[in-house]
């Protein structure tokens, strides 16, 4: 069907079209600009509701949830800093998303690397505690997040006993073949940092005796470490001997 020329359109229709177009443009110009307001993170729904909403594919919902959570501090027209997030709700969401896909390391790595970067120690501890609680359910898969948590406890929170308790949990529970020797040796370094040199020596001895360390390089490294600790202890005793 061919098109007729524009002159075939009644003038009244053209005029009405032009008027309504001007009206639309005027309406748009007069309307207030969209308000920028941060929306708070909603509380996480029960796990059963999330499972129902996943339509039989909880993994997809878990990944979508993580990406959505990740974008929560960058809302349209406004960028929030981590301190403005409700860490109680955030921890709840991370736990739910981990329950939807327990084999994923995403929620725990986000907790230990991204959300623990907040400058509020209480919020940091909440994230580290979440990682520690989740670690117990699958230590051989989740040791990386707890090792990261131990380092954050050591260097950001300066809470050596907390860092050592995480390192101890890795040594005792993450015993699978995929866990590297350095992760199990983390407690030794924490004990050294706490100046508990006897304890550090005992730990190295225990690691060697347990047969968990078999690599010759690792064994040599631990032996050197033992010598260094012995030297430090001897140095510490010298002033007392001189008195």
């Amino acid at each position: 069907m061919g098109a007729r020329p524009l002159s075939a359109v009644p003038a009244g229709v053209l005029l009405a079209f032009a008027l309504v177009l001007v009206l639309q443009l005027g309406w748009h110009a007069a309307a207030p600009p969209p308000g920028v307001r941060a929306t708070a993170l909603a509380p996480p729904p029960p796990l059963a509701v999330l499972q129902l909403a996943s339509l039989g594919d909880p993994l997809a919902l878990a990944r979508l949830g993580m990406l959505s959570l990740q974008a929560d501090d960058d809302q349209p027209g406004i960028s929030l800093n981590l301190r403005q997030l409700d860490y109680g709700r955030l921890a709840g969401w991370l736990e739910r998303l981990l329950a939807l896909d327990p084999r994923s390391e995403y929620p725990l790595l986000a907790a230990s690397t991204v959300y623990s970067a907040v400058d509020d120690p209480a919020d940091q501890r909440q994230m580290l505690d979440l990682v520690y609680r989740a670690f117990g359910a699958d230590p051989n898969r989740r040791w990386q997040a707890l090792a990261q948590a131990a380092l954050i406890a050591r260097h950001r929170l300066h809470d050596l006993p907390l860092a050592r308790s995480y390192a101890r949990a890795i040594r005792l529970q993450a015993t699978g073949p995929g866990v590297p020797a350095w992760a199990r040796e983390l407690e030794v370094f924490m004990a050294e940092d706490m100046n508990e040199l006897d304890s550090a020596r005992a730990l190295i001895g225990a690691l060697i005796a347990s047969g968990q360390v078999t690599d010759p390089h690792e064994l040599r490294f631990l032996a050197t470490r033992l010598e260094q600790i012995a030297a430090r202890q001897a140095l510490a005793r010298q002033p007392r001997a001189g008195h």
């Binding site: 499972q51 129902l52 997809a60 990944r63 990740q70 390391e105 995403y106």
Partner: protein, 261 residues
Amino acid sequence: MTRQAFTIAHYTLLEALRNRLVWLFVLAALLAAGLGALLEQLALTESWQTALALMAPALRLAGAALLAAFVVTSQVRESADKGLELLLALPLPRSAYVLGKLAGYAALALLPALLYGALCWAWSAGAGQSLSQCLLWTLSLWCELCLVAGFALLAVLGLGQALPALATSAGFYLLARSIGAMQLLSHGAAGQHPGPLQRALGGGVDLVAALLPPLDRYTRTDWLLYHSGDSGALWLVLGQSAVYVLLLACAALVDLYRKAL
């Protein structure tokens, strides 16, 4: 009858190929690949797993929606053109018509299943993806699409109109995918003693579940991500699909044999 069913299947497939449906399947694959590439950039860790975990369900949903829409619109057009009446007036058993249509749609379902399976394989092959798990996912997607096509055929033969048939097919798909979670919800937490109302509700949901294929156990994303598919999953998908396609075929036959010319 086999020859007649084969002819009907052949022309059903030919119609789909000439209908540019294949391009829609390809377009869906391209969109999903674009989405995957974007998500891979957004993810902080486990990037290919995150992309695949969202791409695979999107591809599955796109395949099911496009196939169901084609089955329904094709059948409605055939009915409007009086093609169905013409076929039924021929010395042709009605069962040959239903079997031919089902076979044609099953052959058509192979296209998206193979295309999407290949895309998932290509996406993650470099990251150590297992070929056997991708093949299991592809086979399961084909079975799932056959069930969707079979149900859409039954719905359109019974309801006769496009919109109700499409809505019913969508309802069937969503219900079959979520019935497992509904059963868990309706029975309450383990260790609790349910009241009479909850027991009745649980029984009702169990009854509905018994009439549906458990699509939440089909085409699972964790096969692609964690390589957790095994022969048990394969036999469950194959066995359940065979039984349910037969059930759908019988239901469609009952409906078709009752139709007067």
